[in-house]
Protein backbone atom coordinates (compact mmCIF):
# COMPACT_ATOMS: atom_id res chain seq x y z
CA UNK A 1 0.00 0.00 0.00
CA UNK A 2 1.34 3.41 -0.87
CA UNK A 3 1.69 6.14 1.66
CA UNK A 4 -1.02 8.67 1.02
CA UNK A 5 1.05 11.80 0.84
CA UNK A 6 -1.69 14.25 0.06
CA UNK A 7 -4.07 13.18 2.83
CA UNK A 8 -1.64 13.90 5.66
CA UNK A 9 -0.32 17.08 4.22
CA UNK A 10 -1.25 20.25 6.12
CA UNK A 11 -1.10 22.43 3.01
CA UNK A 12 -3.80 20.41 1.34
CA UNK A 13 -6.30 23.25 1.67
CA UNK A 14 -4.12 25.71 -0.18
CA UNK A 15 -4.65 26.08 -3.88
CA UNK A 16 -2.36 23.73 -5.75
CA UNK A 17 0.61 25.33 -7.39
CA UNK A 18 0.85 24.29 -11.00
CA UNK A 19 3.07 21.25 -11.21
CA UNK A 20 5.97 22.46 -13.22
CA UNK A 21 7.95 19.84 -15.12
CA UNK A 22 11.11 21.61 -13.98
CA UNK A 23 10.39 20.61 -10.39
CA UNK A 24 10.15 16.99 -11.34
CA UNK A 25 13.34 17.20 -13.36
CA UNK A 26 15.29 18.70 -10.49
CA UNK A 27 13.82 16.15 -8.09
CA UNK A 28 14.94 13.50 -10.50
CA UNK A 29 18.46 14.87 -10.71
CA UNK A 30 18.67 15.27 -6.96
CA UNK A 31 17.35 11.86 -5.92
CA UNK A 32 17.89 9.49 -8.81
CA UNK A 33 21.12 8.03 -7.45
CA UNK A 34 19.80 7.61 -3.92
CA UNK A 35 16.64 5.91 -5.13
CA UNK A 36 18.41 3.55 -7.54
CA UNK A 37 20.71 2.53 -4.73
CA UNK A 38 17.77 1.90 -2.44
CA UNK A 39 16.06 -0.15 -5.13
CA UNK A 40 19.29 -2.06 -5.84
CA UNK A 41 19.50 -3.04 -2.18
CA UNK A 42 15.91 -4.21 -2.28
CA UNK A 43 15.94 -6.13 -5.57
CA UNK A 44 19.66 -6.88 -5.82
CA UNK A 45 19.90 -6.15 -9.53
CA UNK A 46 20.83 -2.77 -10.96
CA UNK A 47 18.85 -3.00 -14.20
CA UNK A 48 15.63 -3.77 -12.33
CA UNK A 49 16.50 -1.06 -9.82
CA UNK A 50 16.77 1.54 -12.57
CA UNK A 51 13.44 0.43 -14.00
CA UNK A 52 11.83 0.64 -10.60
CA UNK A 53 13.03 4.22 -10.15
CA UNK A 54 11.84 5.25 -13.61
CA UNK A 55 8.44 3.75 -12.86
CA UNK A 56 8.30 5.54 -9.52
CA UNK A 57 8.92 8.90 -11.21
CA UNK A 58 6.33 8.16 -13.86
CA UNK A 59 3.84 7.42 -11.07
CA UNK A 60 4.70 10.69 -9.36
CA UNK A 61 4.41 12.50 -12.67
CA UNK A 62 0.81 11.28 -12.93
CA UNK A 63 0.09 12.59 -9.42
CA UNK A 64 0.99 16.21 -9.94
CA UNK A 65 -0.50 17.16 -6.53
CA UNK A 66 2.31 15.42 -4.68
CA UNK A 67 4.78 17.77 -6.32
CA UNK A 68 3.91 20.90 -4.39
CA UNK A 69 6.12 19.84 -1.47
CA UNK A 70 9.52 18.32 -2.35
CA UNK A 71 9.65 16.35 0.92
CA UNK A 72 6.23 14.84 0.31
CA UNK A 73 7.29 14.03 -3.24
CA UNK A 74 10.41 12.25 -1.97
CA UNK A 75 8.36 10.28 0.56
CA UNK A 76 6.04 9.27 -2.24
CA UNK A 77 8.98 8.21 -4.41
CA UNK A 78 10.48 6.17 -1.59
CA UNK A 79 7.23 4.37 -0.96
CA UNK A 80 6.83 3.72 -4.69
CA UNK A 81 10.33 2.30 -4.91
CA UNK A 82 9.65 -0.11 -2.04
CA UNK A 83 6.34 -1.12 -3.54
CA UNK A 84 7.65 -1.59 -7.05
CA UNK A 85 10.65 -3.52 -5.76
CA UNK A 86 8.26 -5.94 -4.09
CA UNK A 87 6.55 -6.41 -7.44
CA UNK A 88 9.89 -7.12 -9.10
CA UNK A 89 10.73 -9.77 -6.52
CA UNK A 90 7.26 -11.28 -6.78
CA UNK A 91 7.49 -11.44 -10.56
CA UNK A 92 10.90 -12.99 -10.32
CA UNK A 93 9.59 -15.67 -7.97
CA UNK A 94 6.69 -16.43 -10.24
CA UNK A 95 9.02 -16.64 -13.21
CA UNK A 96 11.28 -19.04 -11.33
CA UNK A 97 8.36 -21.21 -10.36
CA UNK A 98 6.79 -21.43 -13.78
CA UNK A 99 9.71 -21.27 -16.12
CA UNK A 100 12.15 -23.19 -13.95
CA UNK A 101 14.83 -20.72 -14.82
CA UNK A 102 18.08 -22.59 -14.44
CA UNK A 103 19.73 -20.00 -12.29
CA UNK A 104 21.06 -20.39 -8.78
CA UNK A 105 19.07 -18.37 -6.27
CA UNK A 106 22.06 -16.58 -4.87
CA UNK A 107 23.71 -15.47 -8.10
CA UNK A 108 24.79 -11.89 -7.69
CA UNK A 109 25.27 -9.46 -10.57
CA UNK A 110 28.75 -8.89 -11.93
CA UNK A 111 29.27 -5.48 -10.38
CA UNK A 112 28.42 -7.04 -7.07
CA UNK A 113 31.22 -9.59 -7.41
CA UNK A 114 33.92 -7.13 -8.21
CA UNK A 115 33.27 -4.60 -5.53
CA UNK A 116 31.73 -6.44 -2.64
CA UNK A 117 33.99 -8.36 -0.33
CA UNK A 118 33.16 -11.81 1.09
CA UNK A 119 32.30 -10.44 4.47
CA UNK A 120 29.77 -8.08 2.97
CA UNK A 121 28.46 -10.68 0.63
CA UNK A 122 27.64 -13.01 3.48
CA UNK A 123 25.79 -10.24 5.28
CA UNK A 124 23.83 -9.30 2.16
CA UNK A 125 22.93 -12.93 1.47
CA UNK A 126 21.69 -13.30 5.05
CA UNK A 127 19.57 -10.16 4.70
CA UNK A 128 18.16 -11.41 1.42
CA UNK A 129 16.99 -14.58 3.12
CA UNK A 130 14.93 -12.63 5.71
CA UNK A 131 11.14 -12.24 5.46
CA UNK A 132 10.04 -9.25 3.41
CA UNK A 133 9.24 -6.69 6.10
CA UNK A 134 12.35 -7.53 8.13
CA UNK A 135 14.54 -7.15 5.09
CA UNK A 136 12.96 -3.85 4.10
CA UNK A 137 13.11 -2.46 7.63
CA UNK A 138 16.81 -3.29 8.01
CA UNK A 139 17.72 -1.74 4.66
CA UNK A 140 15.77 1.41 5.41
CA UNK A 141 17.07 1.62 8.95
CA UNK A 142 20.77 0.99 8.36
CA UNK A 143 21.19 2.48 4.94
CA UNK A 144 18.56 5.08 4.02
CA UNK A 145 19.02 7.25 7.09
CA UNK A 146 15.28 7.39 7.80
CA UNK A 147 13.74 7.73 11.23
CA UNK A 148 11.52 4.98 12.60
CA UNK A 149 8.45 7.09 11.85
CA UNK A 150 9.55 7.68 8.27
CA UNK A 151 10.25 3.98 7.81
CA UNK A 152 6.78 3.17 9.09
CA UNK A 153 5.30 5.71 6.69
CA UNK A 154 7.30 4.35 3.76
CA UNK A 155 6.23 0.78 4.41
CA UNK A 156 2.68 1.65 5.40
CA UNK A 157 2.98 -0.11 8.78
CA UNK A 158 2.86 1.03 12.43
CA UNK A 159 6.07 2.32 14.08
CA UNK A 160 5.80 -0.52 16.60
CA UNK A 161 5.88 -3.04 13.76
CA UNK A 162 9.06 -1.41 12.45
CA UNK A 163 10.69 -1.92 15.82
CA UNK A 164 9.68 -5.55 16.16
CA UNK A 165 10.59 -6.42 12.55
CA UNK A 166 14.01 -4.86 13.10
CA UNK A 167 14.72 -6.77 16.28
CA UNK A 168 13.53 -10.08 14.82
CA UNK A 169 15.65 -9.51 11.74
CA UNK A 170 18.72 -8.63 13.75
CA UNK A 171 18.25 -11.71 15.92
CA UNK A 172 18.19 -13.94 12.85
CA UNK A 173 21.26 -12.25 11.38
CA UNK A 174 23.08 -12.58 14.69
CA UNK A 175 22.39 -16.30 14.65
CA UNK A 176 23.32 -16.82 11.00
CA UNK A 177 26.34 -14.56 10.74
CA UNK A 178 27.56 -15.03 14.30
CA UNK A 179 27.66 -18.78 13.78
CA UNK A 180 29.44 -18.40 10.51
CA UNK A 181 32.20 -16.32 12.04
CA UNK A 182 32.46 -18.54 15.08
Amino acid sequence: MLTSVAADDPVIEQPLAPASPVDLHSLYRAHWRYLVRLAALLVDDVASAEDVVQDAFVALHRRAGALRDPDAALAYLRASVVNLSRSVLRRRQVARKHLRVAEPEETAPADHDVLVRDEHRAALAAVRALPRYQREVLILRYWSGLSEREIAQTLGIAPGSVKSAASRGMATLQRVLGGELG
Binding site: P21, V22, L24, H25, Y28, R29, W32, R33, V36, R37, L38, A40, L41, V46, A49, E50, Q54, D55, F57, V58, L60, H61, D111, H112, V114, L115, V116, R117, E119, H120, R121, A123, L124, V127, L138, I139, Y142, W143, M170, L173, Q174, L177, G178, L181
Partner: protein, 336 residues
Protein backbone atom coordinates in the same frame (compact mmCIF):
# COMPACT_ATOMS: atom_id res chain seq x y z
CA UNK B 1 29.58 -10.67 17.53
CA UNK B 2 27.56 -8.18 19.57
CA UNK B 3 24.68 -6.02 18.35
CA UNK B 4 26.88 -3.00 17.61
CA UNK B 5 29.29 -5.05 15.52
CA UNK B 6 26.43 -6.59 13.60
CA UNK B 7 24.91 -3.17 12.98
CA UNK B 8 28.24 -1.79 11.76
CA UNK B 9 28.70 -4.78 9.50
CA UNK B 10 25.25 -4.34 8.03
CA UNK B 11 25.80 -0.61 7.46
CA UNK B 12 29.10 -1.33 5.70
CA UNK B 13 27.64 -4.07 3.54
CA UNK B 14 24.65 -1.94 2.52
CA UNK B 15 26.90 1.02 1.82
CA UNK B 16 29.32 -0.95 -0.34
CA UNK B 17 26.48 -2.65 -2.20
CA UNK B 18 24.71 0.66 -2.78
CA UNK B 19 27.85 2.34 -4.08
CA UNK B 20 28.68 -0.60 -6.33
CA UNK B 21 25.21 -0.46 -7.89
CA UNK B 22 25.54 3.16 -9.01
CA UNK B 23 28.88 4.86 -8.65
CA UNK B 24 29.22 8.60 -8.18
CA UNK B 25 30.26 9.27 -11.77
CA UNK B 26 27.18 7.65 -13.32
CA UNK B 27 24.81 10.27 -14.66
CA UNK B 28 21.07 9.63 -14.49
CA UNK B 29 19.62 8.57 -17.83
CA UNK B 30 16.91 10.64 -19.44
CA UNK B 31 13.84 10.36 -17.22
CA UNK B 32 11.10 8.17 -18.60
CA UNK B 33 8.38 10.46 -17.26
CA UNK B 34 9.40 12.96 -19.90
CA UNK B 35 8.85 10.38 -22.64
CA UNK B 36 5.39 8.84 -22.48
CA UNK B 37 3.99 11.96 -24.07
CA UNK B 38 5.33 10.78 -27.36
CA UNK B 39 5.74 7.04 -27.23
CA UNK B 40 7.21 5.09 -30.06
CA UNK B 41 4.80 3.90 -32.73
CA UNK B 42 2.52 6.85 -32.45
CA UNK B 43 -0.50 7.05 -34.62
CA UNK B 44 -2.96 9.75 -35.28
CA UNK B 45 -6.20 9.30 -33.40
CA UNK B 46 -9.44 8.51 -35.15
CA UNK B 47 -10.61 11.90 -36.45
CA UNK B 48 -7.23 12.57 -37.97
CA UNK B 49 -6.51 9.03 -39.06
CA UNK B 50 -7.80 9.36 -42.57
CA UNK B 51 -5.71 12.39 -43.34
CA UNK B 52 -2.59 10.91 -41.81
CA UNK B 53 -2.83 7.49 -43.33
CA UNK B 54 -3.51 8.51 -46.87
CA UNK B 55 -0.89 11.26 -46.62
CA UNK B 56 -2.87 13.74 -48.63
CA UNK B 57 -6.16 13.96 -50.37
CA UNK B 58 -6.52 11.17 -52.84
CA UNK B 59 -6.72 12.37 -56.37
CA UNK B 60 -7.66 10.75 -59.60
CA UNK B 61 -8.88 7.20 -59.65
CA UNK B 62 -7.56 5.52 -62.73
CA UNK B 63 -8.56 2.06 -63.78
CA UNK B 64 -5.61 0.29 -65.27
CA UNK B 65 -6.14 -2.78 -67.34
CA UNK B 66 -3.88 -5.57 -66.30
CA UNK B 67 -3.24 -7.76 -69.33
CA UNK B 68 -0.61 -9.85 -67.62
CA UNK B 69 -1.09 -13.59 -67.44
CA UNK B 70 -0.76 -14.83 -63.91
CA UNK B 71 1.55 -17.76 -63.21
CA UNK B 72 0.41 -21.25 -62.29
CA UNK B 73 0.94 -20.68 -58.59
CA UNK B 74 -1.56 -17.84 -58.61
CA UNK B 75 -4.41 -19.50 -60.43
CA UNK B 76 -6.56 -19.12 -57.36
CA UNK B 77 -6.22 -15.41 -57.22
CA UNK B 78 -6.70 -14.98 -60.96
CA UNK B 79 -10.09 -16.59 -60.67
CA UNK B 80 -11.36 -14.13 -58.06
CA UNK B 81 -9.47 -10.94 -58.80
CA UNK B 82 -10.98 -8.24 -60.96
CA UNK B 83 -9.41 -7.79 -64.34
CA UNK B 84 -8.17 -4.27 -63.60
CA UNK B 85 -5.80 -2.78 -61.07
CA UNK B 86 -6.97 0.45 -59.51
CA UNK B 87 -4.33 3.04 -59.02
CA UNK B 88 -4.76 6.19 -56.98
CA UNK B 89 -2.23 8.96 -56.87
CA UNK B 90 -1.56 11.23 -53.95
CA UNK B 91 -3.00 14.50 -55.15
CA UNK B 92 -0.03 16.73 -55.66
CA UNK B 93 -1.64 18.65 -58.51
CA UNK B 94 -0.89 22.36 -58.57
CA UNK B 95 0.64 22.40 -55.13
CA UNK B 96 4.11 23.30 -53.95
CA UNK B 97 6.24 20.69 -52.22
CA UNK B 98 9.74 20.27 -50.91
CA UNK B 99 12.39 18.79 -53.20
CA UNK B 100 12.29 15.41 -51.43
CA UNK B 101 8.63 14.74 -52.21
CA UNK B 102 8.13 11.43 -54.02
CA UNK B 103 5.23 10.92 -56.40
CA UNK B 104 3.12 8.24 -54.72
CA UNK B 105 0.56 5.91 -56.23
CA UNK B 106 -1.40 3.15 -54.48
CA UNK B 107 -2.37 -0.01 -56.37
CA UNK B 108 -5.35 -2.22 -55.60
CA UNK B 109 -3.39 -5.43 -56.05
CA UNK B 110 -0.01 -6.79 -56.87
CA UNK B 111 1.01 -7.30 -60.48
CA UNK B 112 3.91 -9.32 -61.80
CA UNK B 113 5.85 -6.72 -63.70
CA UNK B 114 5.77 -2.96 -63.85
CA UNK B 115 7.66 -2.86 -67.13
CA UNK B 116 4.76 -1.50 -69.22
CA UNK B 117 4.01 1.14 -66.58
CA UNK B 118 7.65 2.15 -66.37
CA UNK B 119 8.01 2.37 -70.13
CA UNK B 120 4.88 4.51 -70.41
CA UNK B 121 5.89 6.96 -67.68
CA UNK B 122 7.60 10.17 -68.66
CA UNK B 123 8.66 12.99 -66.38
CA UNK B 124 9.62 16.54 -67.29
CA UNK B 125 11.09 19.34 -65.20
CA UNK B 126 10.10 22.76 -66.59
CA UNK B 127 9.34 21.00 -69.88
CA UNK B 128 12.67 19.17 -70.18
CA UNK B 129 12.58 15.37 -69.95
CA UNK B 130 14.38 13.84 -66.95
CA UNK B 131 14.99 10.28 -65.89
CA UNK B 132 12.80 9.00 -63.06
CA UNK B 133 12.04 5.47 -61.88
CA UNK B 134 9.30 3.61 -60.04
CA UNK B 135 9.94 1.62 -56.87
CA UNK B 136 7.26 -0.60 -55.31
CA UNK B 137 6.63 -1.49 -51.69
CA UNK B 138 3.95 -3.07 -49.55
CA UNK B 139 1.45 -0.48 -48.43
CA UNK B 140 -0.62 -0.43 -45.27
CA UNK B 141 -3.44 1.40 -47.02
CA UNK B 142 -6.65 -0.60 -46.90
CA UNK B 143 -7.61 -2.01 -50.27
CA UNK B 144 -4.35 -0.87 -51.84
CA UNK B 145 -1.65 -3.36 -50.86
CA UNK B 146 1.01 -1.97 -53.17
CA UNK B 147 2.51 1.52 -53.19
CA UNK B 148 4.64 2.82 -56.03
CA UNK B 149 6.98 5.76 -55.57
CA UNK B 150 8.46 7.70 -58.46
CA UNK B 151 11.59 9.81 -58.11
CA UNK B 152 14.69 11.06 -59.88
CA UNK B 153 18.16 9.93 -58.86
CA UNK B 154 18.57 13.08 -56.75
CA UNK B 155 16.06 15.46 -55.21
CA UNK B 156 13.81 17.42 -57.59
CA UNK B 157 15.35 20.73 -58.66
CA UNK B 158 14.02 23.69 -56.62
CA UNK B 159 11.46 26.17 -57.95
CA UNK B 160 10.36 24.13 -60.97
CA UNK B 161 7.23 22.51 -62.34
CA UNK B 162 7.32 18.72 -62.46
CA UNK B 163 4.99 16.95 -64.87
CA UNK B 164 4.39 13.21 -64.69
CA UNK B 165 2.67 11.62 -67.69
CA UNK B 166 1.60 8.02 -68.03
CA UNK B 167 0.93 7.23 -71.68
CA UNK B 168 -1.61 4.62 -72.72
CA UNK B 169 0.12 1.27 -73.02
CA UNK B 170 -0.59 -2.44 -72.73
CA UNK B 171 -0.98 -2.14 -68.94
CA UNK B 172 -2.50 1.25 -68.29
CA UNK B 173 -4.66 3.97 -69.64
CA UNK B 174 -3.38 7.57 -69.76
CA UNK B 175 -2.82 9.66 -66.61
CA UNK B 176 -1.01 12.88 -65.75
CA UNK B 177 -0.24 15.03 -62.73
CA UNK B 178 1.93 18.04 -62.13
CA UNK B 179 3.19 19.94 -59.12
CA UNK B 180 5.69 22.64 -58.20
CA UNK B 181 8.74 22.45 -56.02
CA UNK B 182 9.67 25.22 -53.60
CA UNK B 183 13.04 26.13 -52.16
CA UNK B 184 15.61 23.39 -51.72
CA UNK B 185 15.19 23.14 -47.95
CA UNK B 186 17.22 20.50 -46.17
CA UNK B 187 17.46 20.14 -42.41
CA UNK B 188 20.37 18.21 -40.96
CA UNK B 189 19.93 16.89 -37.45
CA UNK B 190 23.27 16.09 -35.89
CA UNK B 191 22.85 13.83 -32.92
CA UNK B 192 26.44 14.39 -31.79
CA UNK B 193 25.74 18.12 -31.46
CA UNK B 194 22.04 17.76 -30.55
CA UNK B 195 21.40 20.38 -33.14
CA UNK B 196 19.19 20.80 -36.19
CA UNK B 197 20.62 23.04 -38.91
CA UNK B 198 18.19 24.16 -41.61
CA UNK B 199 19.47 25.22 -45.01
CA UNK B 200 17.30 26.74 -47.67
CA UNK B 201 18.59 27.28 -51.21
CA UNK B 202 22.14 27.08 -49.92
CA UNK B 203 21.74 29.59 -47.09
CA UNK B 204 21.68 28.63 -43.44
CA UNK B 205 18.28 29.55 -42.06
CA UNK B 206 19.11 28.77 -38.47
CA UNK B 207 20.13 26.11 -36.02
CA UNK B 208 17.97 24.74 -33.26
CA UNK B 209 18.72 22.54 -30.23
CA UNK B 210 16.98 19.15 -30.21
CA UNK B 211 16.52 16.11 -28.02
CA UNK B 212 16.32 12.86 -29.99
CA UNK B 213 15.38 9.33 -28.93
CA UNK B 214 16.82 8.00 -25.71
CA UNK B 215 18.76 4.80 -25.22
CA UNK B 216 15.71 2.54 -25.26
CA UNK B 217 14.08 4.14 -28.28
CA UNK B 218 16.73 5.65 -30.53
CA UNK B 219 15.78 7.87 -33.46
CA UNK B 220 16.27 6.08 -36.78
CA UNK B 221 19.12 7.15 -39.01
CA UNK B 222 18.98 8.32 -42.59
CA UNK B 223 17.06 10.66 -44.84
CA UNK B 224 13.46 11.45 -43.96
CA UNK B 225 10.87 13.63 -45.64
CA UNK B 226 8.11 15.65 -44.00
CA UNK B 227 4.92 13.77 -44.82
CA UNK B 228 2.23 15.62 -43.02
CA UNK B 229 1.77 18.42 -40.50
CA UNK B 230 -0.72 19.52 -37.89
CA UNK B 231 -0.77 22.57 -35.60
CA UNK B 232 -1.89 20.36 -32.72
CA UNK B 233 -2.23 16.60 -32.56
CA UNK B 234 -3.51 13.85 -30.36
CA UNK B 235 -0.99 11.06 -30.45
CA UNK B 236 -1.35 7.59 -29.00
CA UNK B 237 0.60 4.38 -28.99
CA UNK B 238 -0.63 1.47 -31.06
CA UNK B 239 -1.37 -0.65 -28.00
CA UNK B 240 -3.86 1.99 -26.87
CA UNK B 241 -2.22 2.31 -23.47
CA UNK B 242 -1.23 5.89 -24.02
CA UNK B 243 -2.95 8.92 -25.40
CA UNK B 244 -1.89 12.53 -25.26
CA UNK B 245 -3.56 15.53 -26.83
CA UNK B 246 -2.33 19.04 -27.46
CA UNK B 247 1.10 18.16 -28.82
CA UNK B 248 1.91 21.23 -30.83
CA UNK B 249 3.43 21.77 -34.25
CA UNK B 250 3.76 18.14 -35.26
CA UNK B 251 5.45 17.33 -38.56
CA UNK B 252 5.45 13.64 -39.37
CA UNK B 253 8.58 11.90 -40.62
CA UNK B 254 7.89 8.16 -40.37
CA UNK B 255 4.98 5.75 -40.06
CA UNK B 256 6.75 4.30 -37.03
CA UNK B 257 5.84 7.50 -35.25
CA UNK B 258 8.69 9.96 -35.50
CA UNK B 259 7.69 13.60 -35.59
CA UNK B 260 9.25 17.00 -35.27
CA UNK B 261 7.27 18.69 -32.51
CA UNK B 262 7.23 21.18 -29.70
CA UNK B 263 8.19 19.61 -26.37
CA UNK B 264 7.67 22.18 -23.61
CA UNK B 265 7.99 19.42 -20.98
CA UNK B 266 11.45 18.47 -22.19
CA UNK B 267 13.15 21.86 -22.54
CA UNK B 268 15.80 21.00 -19.98
CA UNK B 269 17.03 17.98 -21.96
CA UNK B 270 16.79 19.91 -25.23
CA UNK B 271 18.98 22.65 -23.82
CA UNK B 272 21.40 20.30 -22.09
CA UNK B 273 21.82 18.12 -25.18
CA UNK B 274 20.38 14.95 -23.68
CA UNK B 275 18.55 12.48 -25.94
CA UNK B 276 15.43 11.48 -24.08
CA UNK B 277 12.48 11.26 -26.46
CA UNK B 278 10.84 8.09 -27.73
CA UNK B 279 12.26 8.69 -31.18
CA UNK B 280 10.70 12.04 -31.96
CA UNK B 281 12.75 15.15 -32.51
CA UNK B 282 11.85 17.35 -29.56
CA UNK B 283 12.13 21.08 -30.22
CA UNK B 284 11.89 24.17 -28.04
CA UNK B 285 8.35 25.55 -28.38
CA UNK B 286 9.41 28.74 -30.19
CA UNK B 287 11.63 26.79 -32.59
CA UNK B 288 8.91 24.23 -33.26
CA UNK B 289 6.50 27.04 -34.12
CA UNK B 290 8.96 28.74 -36.45
CA UNK B 291 9.85 25.47 -38.20
CA UNK B 292 6.18 24.56 -38.51
CA UNK B 293 5.70 27.81 -40.41
CA UNK B 294 8.81 27.55 -42.60
CA UNK B 295 9.08 23.85 -43.45
CA UNK B 296 6.71 22.22 -45.90
CA UNK B 297 5.59 18.75 -46.87
CA UNK B 298 8.32 17.22 -49.01
CA UNK B 299 11.19 19.01 -47.28
CA UNK B 300 14.13 16.80 -46.39
CA UNK B 301 15.27 16.10 -42.82
CA UNK B 302 18.51 14.15 -42.59
CA UNK B 303 19.74 12.23 -39.55
CA UNK B 304 23.30 11.25 -40.48
CA UNK B 305 24.40 10.05 -37.05
CA UNK B 306 21.26 9.12 -35.12
CA UNK B 307 21.60 6.05 -32.90
CA UNK B 308 18.90 3.86 -34.45
CA UNK B 309 18.92 1.62 -37.54
CA UNK B 310 18.53 3.15 -40.99
CA UNK B 311 14.98 4.16 -41.89
CA UNK B 312 13.11 1.57 -43.94
CA UNK B 313 11.91 2.74 -47.32
CA UNK B 314 8.31 1.78 -46.52
CA UNK B 315 8.24 3.53 -43.15
CA UNK B 316 7.13 6.79 -44.76
CA UNK B 317 8.90 8.66 -47.52
CA UNK B 318 12.04 6.62 -46.89
CA UNK B 319 12.83 6.73 -50.62
CA UNK B 320 16.15 8.49 -50.32
CA UNK B 321 17.64 5.73 -48.20
CA UNK B 322 17.44 3.32 -51.13
CA UNK B 323 20.53 3.54 -53.36
CA UNK B 324 19.72 4.41 -56.98
CA UNK B 325 21.10 1.14 -58.37
CA UNK B 326 18.68 -0.73 -56.11
CA UNK B 327 15.83 1.70 -56.76
CA UNK B 328 15.87 1.27 -60.54
CA UNK B 329 15.26 -2.47 -60.23
CA UNK B 330 11.80 -1.66 -58.87
CA UNK B 331 11.75 -3.24 -55.40
CA UNK B 332 8.73 -5.47 -54.87
CA UNK B 333 7.71 -5.42 -58.53
CA UNK B 334 10.45 -5.51 -61.16
CA UNK B 335 10.46 -2.65 -63.66
CA UNK B 336 12.71 -4.26 -66.26
Amino acid sequence: MNADELERRLRDAFDVRARSSVSEDVQPPAPRFAMPREPRRLRMLAPLAAAAAVLAVVGSMIALRNNQEDGHGRRHRVATAAASVHIRMVDVDNQTYGVGMPVVADFSRKFRTAKPLAAATSVTVDGKPVRAAWYFEHSATKGYPIAGHLRMRGFWPPHVTVKVTIAPNELTSAAAIDFRTGARTIAIVQDAKHEMVVMSDGKIMGSYPVSLGGRRSPTVRGIKVIMDKHPSSCLADVAGTYRECGIKYTQQLTYSGEYLHSAPWNTSNIQRGVDSSNGCTNLMPTDARLLYKTLKVGDVVEYPDADGPTMRADSGYGDWNVPWHVWIRGGLIPTS
